[in-house]
Symmetry: C2
């Protein structure tokens, strides 16, 4: 299937800075995709700290199991050369004992190439599920002498990890830590929350800042909650989702070891911006997406309740199809609040579409004007604000509409 560039895609891929301590290369195995890189190999300076979060799926792929072990080892003590190997085309998921042996062999090949220990080589795979990996092309590609001759550009790296993505995704920010300018940049792939055949979400962020592993992990986990874990294309969860944050430690400031250190204030804001930008780009490449939707829930019993309600709205097929049809169907939002299982009171609910209040006090807003709200629904970026009226919990989630394009893409993928 030939996928057209998403109508929500940004105009261009941004210019991302080169970071000291990070080497990257790409290669073409030709395994599944032709005339494009499908392998990304990275080497991180010995000063690096690595943080990572993984899918919560109870049926994760072999590479997730492997990388979790690498992270556990890294947490116990760093100071080694570390690296990352990513392949696109085969997820090595549900491939039995062979899958575990194959990911180990991939790690070995990557480690030998960059001069690292095998258990310092993180591995991420994305692509088809249930098909045994063909190691031949990897072995050949990774052992070619010319591989390390030319470093890859950020755009090439972003391309090498894509599967069904219709555009390559990157973002960056700068910040100041203790008087030293640092950069944060990242690349991401993913065009559904998942499509197990092809479209896991993988996100990799890098900074030259010098931050301890514990602090880095705390920031990544916290900000993932409000970025990558606050988006949904189709409510499905990948068996391979992985988000990593690597602090290369090469910027020249002193190591930051306290998550509450005020020196990190600017860095925190910048990191959140990069992660949110990348998360939004995944939604904007949502399969068949034509609208970008923000659902802002306030007044819930707790933040957790607000998130559950937000996800109930953004995942509701009826809400998503109404938005695809540019229909100001707030009745379906009421329904989605009601089915969430969280505390809500019909008569306290306030719902606004953009600046237009559509429902309050258990009924349609008195000044509701169908024509005005319908005109708003025709815009590409929509904000739904839902106040539950029972507490102070708040959470914002993002998603996209459900269109014929989604059915087209997913109803006959493998064939």
């Amino acid at each position: 299937m030939n996928l057209k560039r998403s109508p929500l895609a940004p105009d261009t891929f941004p210019v991302l800075p080169i970071l000291t301590g990070l080497d990257m290369w790409v290669a073409e195995t030709g395994m599944k995709y032709k005339n494009r890189p499908d392998v990304l190999l990275m080497r991180f300076a010995k000063t690096s700290a690595i943080a990572s979060v993984f899918t919560t799926s109870s049926t994760p792929g072999a590479p997730v199991d492997w990388s979790k072990k690498c992270l556990d080892k890294h947490k116990e003590g760093s100071g080694h050369t570390t690296g990352l190997l990513v392949n696109a085309g085969n997820a090595n998921v549900f491939t039995g004992q062979q899958g575990h042996e194959d990911v180990r062999e991939m790690a070995r090949l990557g480690a030998v190439t960059i001069g690292a220990d095998i258990d310092d080589m993180f591995v991420c795979s994305t692509g088809v599920i249930g098909e045994p990996l063909d190691l031949g092309p990897f072995r050949q590609t990774l052992s070619e002498n010319s591989l390390l001759n030319t470093q890859a550009s950020w755009a090439q790296a972003a391309k090498a990890i894509c599967t069904t993505d219709t555009y390559i995704k990157g973002a960056s920010q700068t910040a100041d830590i203790d008087g030293v300018g640092i950069s944060i940049c990242g690349i991401v792939k993913g065009s559904g929350m998942i499509a197990p055949d092809m479209a896991t979400m993988l996100g990799f962020m890098f900074t030259d800042a010098n931050i301890s592993q514990a602090v880095l992990q705390e920031l990544l986990s916290e900000y993932t909650r409000t970025s990558f874990n606050a988006i949904s294309v189709d409510s499905d969860t990948s068996t391979s989702d992985t988000v990593m944050l690597i602090a290369l430690g090469t910027a020249g400031h002193d190591l930051v070891t306290n998550v509450d250190d005020p020196k990190l204030d600017e860095f925190k804001t910048a990191l959140q911006r990069v992660m949110l930008n990348l998360a939004h780009q995944v939604i904007k490449d949502g399969e068949g997406a034509q609208k970008f939707i923000e659902v802002c829930v306030t007044g819930a019993a707790s933040d957790k309740a607000a998130k559950t309600i937000g996800m109930s709205i953004i995942n509701s097929p009826l809400v998503k199809t109404a938005i695809a049809g540019e229909d100001a169907n707030w009745g379906r939002v009421v329904m989605a609040v009601g089915k969430s299982g969280e505390q809500a009171d019909r008569d306290k609910l306030r719902i606004a579409f953009g600046p237009h209040l559509v429902a309050l006090e258990g009924a349609r807003a008195p000044r509701y004007d169908e024509e005005i709200v319908s005109a708003y629904m025709k815009t590409q970026d929509l904000v739904l604000h839902v106040d539950i009226g029972v507490g102070e919990g708040a959470f914002t989630v993002w998603g996209c509409d459900l269109t014929h394009g989604y059915i087209d893409i997913n109803a006959d993928y493998r064939s």
Copy 2:
């Protein structure tokens, strides 16, 4: 929009028996639908016991609040004439204080007509949300002298409660209680788990058996769990869903007051069959449905876990689109098990599509033959069997595929 009869619909509406103690009439208000009945009025003999289950939505419609109060009163003491009034076209949901006054007035109009007390008149409404009800046509229709002249047929009653249904739905069974032959019959409407604009699920079952309210309620609640609550068209939950079971008490056998009374054995089986038949008919009218899917989960940690896993599979947009595309994509089933949040072990999972084992021991089944399984996927009724391998919990759920038809119906309903 003109909806074509579902390809999964049965050939004809069945012949249902006339039950002593049940009177029913239909009428046309012309409020929303033309040239078809849209009001159903029923009167139940004084000997009747009434059981009911309602939507779990925290934003239910005013008629649900009203009927819950009627049920509470009925539980405290029966022996009155009771009745039911149903209208199709306006759900009287999210209509504020006016909605509560309107349902009371509907109940009053119905009660006067059949000679019952107002709080013995159950009311169910289905149709558009958030629009105030126009009581004028009801008042006129229900006060016409000719209304009670002609009793309605089962087919007319089934038609009067329809909204987006593409066919009318009914089922019946007979059984023996204490040497007396009794009948059970029922009608149902619904073509999505919900589409709040139009397609709530309403189910009404009737029997001439003589059974106490407490026993009746226990049976209805228990069997709803494995029938109407084990189906899903699109994971959404209506604000108006109501299922009622009325035992008219006119068959002539002694009152049954013990749920474990062996005299009820045949009745229990017959009731379950009627309820499952009606539930399946709702799925077979699922918006855009082209495949009827049974997901049978075994070997889960508990029955509850099995249901959660089953619903995760049957509600997964990726599983549903794969089936629409007749793709034997068991990788998506693995994904749906993984995201359910229930205990599972990738390496113990066994998945079969119909009689064909496709996955076991954490990998594709050794004898998996794509061609054979693909041929199976072309059949209209599919069975997915998923054994989790961690316990003895089991549950079966039913659903349908996700097609372009669903988007067509829901992307521009109100317009």
